[in-house]
Amino acid sequence: MSSAFLGGARDRLLPVSIPFRFFVSAALFHLAAWGVLLLEADQLGGFTGGPGPILAATHLATLGVFAMTAIGASYQLLPVVTRRPLARDWPTRLSFWLLSPGICLLAWGMDRSSPGAMQTGAALVCSGLTVFAMLTADNLRRAGSVAVVAAHGWAALLALVGLAVLGMLLVWDFQTGFLDDHAGLAVIHMVLASYGFMGLLVAGFSLVLVPMFALSRSLPQRPGWAQLVLAGVSLASFACGRWTGNTAFNWLALLAGFGAAGTYLWLMRAAMARRMRKRLGLSFVLIRASWGLLGISLILGAALLADLPIPNAPALFGFLLLAGWLSTFLMGILQRIMPFLASMHASGKSGLPPPPSDLTPQTPLKIHAFCHFGALACCAAGIIMETTALIRLGAVFGCVGALAFVGFALIVLLRLRAFQQGS
């Protein structure tokens, strides 16, 4: 049976090794990000940017965990959603082999403030992202259906181009210092990466994945378009505000951002209210928590703009945006789609596919969820109270949770292999 999945170029199911190499790497980078934070916990509270271990940990999370998860999921899910198979398989592997060493080198260079390593790493990462962008654009170009999801994909790609160009400029600027406003561009780069590229992918895929997993009745299309337009206005206004120094743009960005997030949360609430599957399991505890953390990140963003006296507000904002919203959401989705996809590629001795629960080890997921929330609470409190011991405790929680998640990913793979060999 598995030979069928090696399939022709017109098959929408990719070989399982393609999405899984991205997912397992994401789990490993997740562990690496928390590991760096554990070793350098004293630097998190006052972090406002610049090379060093916190920037390295940030990119291990954003590129290593978020982008790897998004790319692996996009390669497998977009052809299914758009009903257009990828033109070829090999570029997906190429993008992985450009990205994974690139991320390691970039993070190492950032940790050691080594311009050469950062530049080489950034070039590899951008090459990998270019391959991803070309494959995705080709798929979206041929997608005549699911227009609202495809439009989110196009907008995410646009944000990806912007963040990649800015990222390259920022990396080269560490050596030459040719940029007038390095910090301002770094903020635009971060917002384009988190709310832009990742946020738009999350918002777009959520329109498909959340109703599918919850077995909800149809979601209205118009709010989906509204969230996209509002997100676009928000990102563009924010970039204009930082570029021109006109704070009115920043407030417009914030208002539109709240509108986009509010629309997204309203859609997700509708999906939950209309769902036919009542018991959604641990993954949806994480996914629902991430929705709350998205709101908190925006409120903190508003507090930053208003210059409210919150201790270490930039670090707290960045932490809750990345480790809070995005990481929580993606870990919830990953633990759902890994066994789901694996079950599509496995068959037991009887030739029948195993149910996803036979591939899902529950204990590592429970450990991960407990530790993840413990890590968020301790680190956030540590940042506010400027207490390194609390941040370090949070990082210990984060490492244990991430280790449990690596265990989960490996067990899924081992069980998949056992089923494949059994057949």
Binding site: A4, D11, R83, V208, L215, M344, G351, L352
Partner: protein, 167 residues
């Protein structure tokens, strides 16, 4: 989901009906746990009655239609993997559906005992999990593909034949 093709809409409605039965069965198992439920309880009786009739009929007609009329067309288009996987899931679901339907019928006649409840519960739990996962895949990967797969004329022929078989 809403679909422009009538065939996809009919299959989607089937899914909704099946989910209703399966969800009720899931609630029954979650509530009863290891203790055999009392079949004279109105809610238990209603769920078992639905399970004894709906699951077997629905899935056998539904699966046969998909395998004979839709997967073959998907495969002709080169989209082999999804049809083959869904076929193998059907092969796993059909005997489970029959076991659960037979168990429900037997329970409606003579109630559950400490001997009959555990195997019924296990079979139902496996059916529930497999069915939810299966419907999720069909809703995401099969039904939307029918929009491209079927032209309006074929859609009309297939949906009319399917509706007639359901009467």
């Amino acid at each position: 989901m809403s679909f422009t093709r009538r065939t996809a809409q009919l299959l989607h409605e089937d899914h909704q009906g099946t989910i209703e039965v399966i969800e009720a069965l899931d609630q029954l198992i979650a509530k009863a746990r290891k203790k055999a439920p009392d079949v004279s309880d109105a809610a238990v009786n209603k769920t078992l009655t639905k399970a004894s009739v709906a699951i077997e009929d629905e899935i056998s007609n539904h699966f046969a239609f998909e395998e004979n009329e839709l997967f073959t067309r998907l495969e002709e288009m080169g989209d082999v993997g999804i049809g083959e996987h869904l076929r193998s899931e059907h092969a796993a679901l059909l005997p489970l559906g029959k076991t659960v339907a037979e168990g429900a019928r037997a329970a409606l006649q003579g109630g559950f005992t400490d001997q009959t409840w555990p195997p019924f519960r296990n079979a139902a739990a496996e059916l529930i999990e497999r069915m939810f996962s299966h419907i999720q895949k069909e809703e995401m990967a099969l039904l939307p593909a029918l929009e491209d797969l079927l032209d309006p004329e074929t859609d009309m022929q297939l949906s009319s034949a399917y509706e007639a078989a359901h009467l």
